[in-house]
Amino acid sequence: MGEPCAVIGIGQTAYRSRRRDVSIPGLLREAARRALDDAHLTWADIDAVVIGKAPDLFEGVVMPEAMLADALGATGKPITRVHTAGSVGGSTAIAAAGLVHGGVHDRVLAVAWEKQSESDATWALTVDSPFTTSLVVGAGGYFAPHVRAYVHRSGAPGHIGALVAVKDRRNALRNPYAHLRIPGITRAMVESTPMLWEPIRYLETCPSSDGACAMVLASEHAARRAPSRPAWVHGTAMRSEPLAFPGRDAVSPRAGADCAADVYRQAGITDPRADLDCAEVYVPFSWYEPMWLENLGFCGAGDGWRLTESGATAPDGDIPWNPSGGVLSANPIGASGMIRFAEAALQVRGRAGGHQVDGARRALGHAYGGGAQFFAMWIVGDTKP
């Protein structure tokens, strides 16, 4: 694992359909500035910048770290751009934490974002390599068959997805940054919305958001001087597997299970449901909650939907999932993974405001991407490991 690393500053923008008041650099600067303020630091205190976003085709800017260097105070400093599809926000946090774990820098600024109002993500996700034919439209078209396979395999009743959609949207009402705010949302309301990709209904999908998330990661020495309680990184892991080959289990990918096993081992976790106090997990379509509950080892195979139905993942359950409202409530794609990591850190710092899980001491941040083949996870805690 190397040198200890802690989160000492977190900044988020409001997530909205359109942030017409800011440019792309302005959006990132807003999040970065808030993270610096949280850590009581200035731009000059930062040793290196690591940024992440989803494909360049979204906003049409090639390798945008070049044009963002000025806005992020990177002149004279190292700046690196990470891109690992939907898991990129998590991978960006891990690459930034790596610079501290490796003893290379003391204070690293990690920023991830998407400005979907200046992009066309569905178009960009539908364009395929000229060598292959794609019949997929957008991410939902790709993932719906995996969900159908899960429902078939587990015997889950049809309403489970709606339960997750309602839970996460209710959580979002307590998070001032969340994009989708639907007061009085009910299961009947979700079930009355159009079917987009069987069995995924409109309100079971994530929105398209503009937004950015930033964190300041610090060495032990720098964390000791931070003004408020840091979140210590207890483990980080990334795993990737090929997109397709006979025998790959797209419903419960081995890369996800291996990644979880690695990060649990580092953090000394043997029973994630009992040992963790809450989890921020990448659930862009409601059905991914029961699927990831199983993949991440919170229950046995086929039992994920039972856990959801029992209320265990609700804010007053024994293992709250996505108390922030999750990806279902705000989805600036490139930032979504980092938001999961940052929200996990907010929880163990006791700074999650209205959606704080009482007494949260250890939390999981999780991101996935590509065809459910790239995974990034970390576990943060309120004590130095």
Binding site: G2, A54, A66, G76, P78, G98, G102, G103, S240, F245
Partner: protein, 346 residues
Amino acid sequence: MRRQVAVVAFAQTRHTAGDGGLQEAEMLAPVIAEVRERTGLRRFGFTCSGSCDYLAGAPFSFVSALDAVGAWPPISESHVEMDAAWALHEAWVRLQHGDVDTALVYGFGKPSQADPRAVFAQQLDPYHLAPLGIDPVSLAALQARAYLERSGATEDDLRAVVARSRASGRGNPFALHLPDPGDTGYDVAPLRACDVAPVTDGAAAIVLAAGDTARGLCGRPAWIAGIDHRSEAHAPGVRDLTRSDAARLAGARAGASGIEVAELHTRFSHEEPILREALGLGGGVEVNPSGGPLSANPEMATGLIRIGEAASRVHDGTAGRTLGHAASGPCLQQNLVCVLAGGGHG
């Protein structure tokens, strides 16, 4: 105290000036097979790659390349949307944690199927610069003009850089074999077509290993004595284009002194004297003996190849201390310097 990490294997494709009929993954598979064979390693503690979706014209172009790695069982892996030299930096950082001993780094680019000038014009600030329709060659020409005026160098001096690079490239089986520069017209004055690195397809892979693992895998490991990268401001109007502050800073922090051979990521001939000055490379330093990017420029692998070529000179014992350099962004905005050294640094 840094953990000692070395380049223990390097492989590259025989780069082509045009579409060779291979997909990216097909270009990549043989070089990954080659570094595996050379090291005997099937699995690596960490894998990191560099590429650019826009060159492939499709999002997630790195995903199909992952198939060339054979990521099963699942691997610990990441990707930078930058030249793979930055992937090597991320892998070097990862090896500093102390819990893994080997890393695979690869990069690939197939610009022949795209229009690199149009693609990299989209790298500019989308609000202020890109709408001007300025392309990377035009920006480089501004820099070249400013450099010639400041230094008193002439277009003939640039032509000499090209002639030397191309002559060296003809001795490199992996580079394009280009003729001596003739009396062609300007591309964008003062740059002629020969002053601009050729459109090239290719891929490269490097294996890094730490400490005793490196010694076990390679007779003469090329130890990373220092590595650093720095950026400058993006807007060309706010920096002195005739100098490379970022290269100077990265070179100083990487400990670039006593260099015998330097492989520089020169996408334009005028960048060589600017980088020589920034890195303090005197006349005695051999620059781009491989022919450099002016003889073969497989985008996104070009910088990694510079590190690989610099390491090769340590591997074969013809140099004791070498330098690999990578650049990114318009007008040498970002620079990475990797200093490699032979025995005594392990």
